[in-house]
Amino acid sequence: MRAPYVAVVVTLALGTSATPLRPAPSAGATISGKITYTGVPPKMKPIDMAKEPSCAAQHTAAPVTTENVVTGPGNALRYVVVYVSSGDQPAPPPAEAVRYDQKGCQYIPHVAVLDVNQPLDIYNDDQTSHNIHPLAKQNPEWNKSQPIGAPPIHTKFEKPEFIPVKCNVHPWMHGWFVVLPTTHHALSGPDGEFSITGLAPGKYTVTAWHEQFSSLSEDVSVSGSETKTVNFTFKATLY
């Protein structure tokens, strides 16, 4: 089923090398950098999915652990949300939906970052029922069942909020919906790198948020189509 998508990507890459897939960085300034940590991060706990054989079978090669603190080589810290917390102009949310998968009894990605009122599509790719329970406080808290083969749940959140998400049937499943009042945000990858593109010239406050290590902020001024580097270093704590 992947073939059509691969074909499209290849076509775009070959045929339109001048047209990047993402909004052109030349349309504004870029803030990029790397997220790292100092100190000793907590060890992630292995997850035993024996009670859900259909999911356990998908992880025989690589055992699954909790994802509260995911690190990479060179003290890289993954799943850090970096966003413009002040100085940004309000902009309409993208019409493109953010996809959130329940696959192998895990949330993929662990952290979904979306704009206020941006569509969010939640899929159940598993051979088991899940229930999606965003523990929102500013937004409405809801809890919906999504049985095997059920259509995706289409939703959105109207207020900015960091919302923990859980599945009550599978207590190890834990993720986040990060709803932001800005379109300028990024999520650090396995190497800790992030990149916020398309910024108009101006002075901004950039905030990096990690679910366990709280948040850090820095003021940055950008102009033209320059790329500024901002690195954040979190102090890892065991609890």
Binding site: I132, P140, E141, N143, S145, Q146
Partner: protein, 282 residues
């Protein structure tokens, strides 16, 4: 036209101001239960006398008694309620809150407040709605439609049993509905407090009612704030009634469904596959 004297002008000005103040929409300050209108100002007195010790002066569920109580008193500042006629994630109707207050919550410290007059309860509902700003910005959800119940029949019960398996109700409620499913011990509410799934073998009333319609409503709207999700997007009305009929057979009650089930089971028990994980029940 005769010019108004200053006093008449002043008085009429005050009257206009008062009228304007009164006409401003203060929806959150009132509740409407049928023809009854509750007022928050009167409700505050009721609340301060009967509710405050558990739910707290600020409505956040941390009254003096709260530390001794399990499950914890409702935190009204979140505006998240279990017993609603409205879809998951929406505010309940005034009627829902009124009924929950009147009914009380079985297996908790919340008693039925029937000794209070209907007016007292309507006033208290209006006051409870002042604790969260959500009542000022959002409207109550639209109650779900519950079609008339079809007559219980063994076919309906068996279809419902299939849904109990397919929807994986047994993962929490247990293969026999004893509240001992594989996830039961790990369940927590929205404040991370442990919460057990309903045990059908007690035959007790449900937290949100006791009739077949109440049962239908419970799993089609979900109990917000708890692990019990809404199945409103997954079950058609016919399916939902089938599930209601089956759930009644799990209770040790003299219901028409239980009678049908016992009669059928007497000759067909060996035909049944146990409920539980595929490839054999627990």
């Amino acid at each position: 036209m005769r010019p108004k004297t200053p006093v008449v002008a002043w008085v009429s000005g005050v009257v206009v101001l008062l009228w304007a103040a009164g006409a401003r929409p203060c929806v959150a300050q009132e509740s409407h239960i049928g023809t009854l209108t509750g007022h928050a100002a009167a409700g505050k007195k009721v609340y301060r006398r009967y509710c405050v010790l558990c739910h707290g002066a600020d409505g956040d569920g941390t009254g003096e008694n709260a530390m001794w109580i399990d499950p914890k008193p409702r935190d009204f500042t979140l505006a998240v309620f279990k017993c609603r006629s409205t879809p998951s994630g929406t505010l309940p109707t005034d009627q829902d809150l009124f009924e929950a207050m009147s009914r009380g919550f079985l297996t908790t410290n919340m008693p039925p407040w029937l000794p209070l007059t209907r007016q007292n309860r309507a006033d208290a509902v209006a006051y409870i709605k002042t604790f969260s700003p959500k009542w000022r910005t959002l409207k109550a959800g639209t109650p779900i439609t519950i079609p008339p119940e079809p007559a219980a029949a063994i076919e309906s019960i068996l279809r419902g049993r299939g849904l109990f398996q397919k929807m994986e109700c047994w993962k929490c409620h247990g293969p026999l509905g004893h509240g001992d499913g594989q996830s039961a011990k790990t369940l927590t509410d929205n404040k991370d407090n442990p919460i057990p799934p309903y045990n059908f073998s007690t035959g007790s009333r449900f937290k949100c009612g006791e009739t077949n319609r109440d049962l239908y409503r419970i799993f089609m709207t979900g109990l917000d704030g708890t692990p019990m999700p809404s199945f409103g997007d997954d079950l058609k009305p016919g399916d939902a009634w089938d599930l209601v009929h089956f759930l009644r057979t799990l209770q040790p009650l003299d219901t028409p469904e239980a009678a049908l089930w016992r009669a059928w089971l007497a000759s067909h028990a060996s035909d049944l596959k146990p409920i539980g994980p595929p490839g054999g029940g627990r």
